[in-house]
Symmetry: C2
Subunit: 386 residues, 2 copies
């Protein structure tokens, strides 16, 4: 019975509000109808607000986030194009690998998992490119596999000065932390439904800015399902090029309404509070964090495996005894860290619950917890509730 | 209020059983969990039964059906490969256009919309290819835009003799009419969730047979999101390469259970009955059918616009007065036909309801209906209920 109490504190799928779940339970609307067009256009406007853009076109794909990443490459590149890619985790690596596979000439700035790229590293790489051959820079906002945030705003400035395009994978980070597409000068952006948007997986969102549109016209890579020209033509007719996932889009309409109700700045502030409460409390418990304070994501916190404790056993106990699901590390960090997601439809109580369960489980596995974390939590909550 | 009575008799989305809708309303499972693996593997087995295959691997994509069509091309072709494509409707044309765009050398057998390809036409086209350059034949099973069925079994035999591969778009037709992947010798098959599978749009299914696997190994077209090698490696680990649409897959698990309960042969028989009841009744009303009796799909019936009646007005009246949504024609058939879907979760009562509403609406628009259709319906129902 209590598997129905299962509570996800992973970096996606994130918890879904009941009012969005109930949208999913409705009979699907016909996708070529005025009723659906209205919802689609409202979602399109809502997506602009979340990415803080007035000039980019947001497209909704029936796809996972990886599909959206592929859409950006397919629409911006021609074979042989030079790409600069920041690789400091599983998803940064995925994008660079994908670009390589599609025939781009990919230069990588590779960092150990758990570290953010430094502005200086990007400046150097771009400075070396005196012939301005780099056409596109690929950057992950919040790297899901580590909970590390790359300095998107600073990199955007450098890329702008260089003249290349900047594409940002904000699949996990969007809505959790400030990201201003127009103000910062991001050309193409991708996110996914099962993260800050608070609905189940199945939709990829891609925002296409003016410079990306220009590049798209020249890009010769063949594309059909991902094609922006097809997507734009359809959206101008208030519809989609191919059958949309109507149920998820109706649920998105509801969560965008909720997000609008909260207000994007308050959403960012809430995530900052959840992050600080999580980080300071686990720190007070005696645990070690993977990311530094200045590089840590507000969407997800990675915690180093406590001495003598197997991540597998820790995750199992949290799930069996407390019905809380947290994530293991990925790639070389598997078994080395665990990750607590605090992204999307997450409130103070959820984080307190997860921390409390963690503080119950750790001593039972042989790691004594400093009970002072309760005071630290309380103090942090007050500080960031202001 | 009565927009909540809206009833879709279009070729997708099709009606969804309540028990599947309730699956969608659940909090999403974590996709990397034993619970979800179990559901995924059960769905994989269920998909084999629907396509009547023991040897093909079914993959589930977060995508619309068009994405699945692209997956087949991306995995089977190299630039310059020769493809033979049957084009007798919007979706046949879409596949041929897509293959052309991706750099294949596409030969088309083009027919007027509303006609099926003849075995002889395919025989001739393959016979002309004495150097066996044709690598892949693309064929639509049930062409959604017309309600016409192409002779897949006969074409499969010819393609087998020639040595090319056969890929079939069974997006609309699958589960509505007999299709036997192994017995007929189909190499790659695609379908979508919002059709015979009775759930909302958002999933594409692709089945990969042994010969398709061989060709895949040689095919040089770049692919990432659609890549079968990645999909198979993940499925061997009871998971998916990229974040799956967990909610729709849980709903699929439920509808595959229902399909298994009915039994695929009975599902085919039910659709044949719904088709015959629809066709004979509208014929008796005095309306003209687009497809001939031998070429008509069991998924959808296309009816020629009655003299003096605008399709737009007819559809509007059916929707406004009776909350029934039927489809317009597509491309050059827009405004020339209307299409009644009787695919998926459709029972005798649904077809009777749609026909009754139609027989109410037509006279009001100036087309007198022969009331004898009731007897024809009754007789047909009895004949095909045996």
């Amino acid at each position: 019975m209590f598997d129905q109490k299962r509570f996800l504190m992973i970096p996606g799928p994130t918890p879904v509000p009941e009012s969005a779940l109930l949208q999913l339970a409705k009979h699907p609307l016909p996708h070529r109808s005025p009723e659906f067009s209205e919802i689609l256009m409202r979602c399109t406007e809502g997506l602009k607000i979340v990415a803080q853009t007035k000039q980019a076109d947001p497209f909704i794909y029936a796809a996972s986030g990886t599909g959206g990443m592929e859409a950006i490459l397919a629409n911006l590149l021609s074979p042989g194009d030079k790409v600069l890619s920041v690789v400091n985790g599983v998803f940064g690596k995925r994008w660079a690998d994908m670009a390589t596979l599609f025939g781009a000439d990919v230069e990588r700035i590779t960092l150990p998992m758990g570290q953010a790229v430094q502005e200086e590293q990007v400046r150097e790489a771009l400075a070396k490119d005196s012939n301005k051959e780099i056409k596109l820079v690929l950057l992950t906002f919040s790297e899901t596999s580590t909970g590390v945030v790359n300095p998107v705003q600073a990199v955007a400035k450098l890329v702008r000065e260089h003249g290349a395009l900047l594409a940002v994978d904000a699949i996990t980070g969007l809505a959790a932390m400030p990201l201003k597409m127009d103000e910062w000068g991001i050309d193409a952006l991708v996110s996914g439904s099962q993260k800050g948007f608070m609905i189940p997986p199945g939709l990829a969102f891609v925002w296409v800015g003016p410079r990306a549109w220009e590049a798209h016209k020249q890009a010769s890579f063949p594309r059909f399902y991902w094609d922006w020209t097809k997507a734009k033509k359809a959206l101008d007719d208030k519809t989609t090029a191919f059958t949309p996932n109507v149920s998820l889009i109706c649920a998105l309409d509801e969560t965008l309404r909720l997000m609008n109700q909260e207000g994007i700045e308050k959403t960012w502030k809430r995530h900052e509070k959840l992050k600080q409460c999580t980080r300071r409390s686990v720190g007070a418990m005696g645990l070690q964090l993977l990311a530094t304070d200045t590089e840590a994501s507000a969407a997800i916190t990675s915690i180093v495996a406590p001495q003598g404790i197997e991540i597998k056993a820790l995750r199992k106990k949290l799930k069996d005894d407390w019905q809380i699901v947290v994530a293991d590390g990925q790639a070389e960090l598997q078994g080395k860290i665990f990750r607590i997601g605090h992204l999307g439809f997450v409130c103070d109580r959820d984080v307190l619950t997860a921390l409390s369960a963690l503080s119950q489980v750790l001593p039972e596995l042989g790691f004594p917890v400093n009970e002072a974390w309760h005071q630290v939590y309380n103090k942090t909550l007050k500080e960031f509730s202001k």
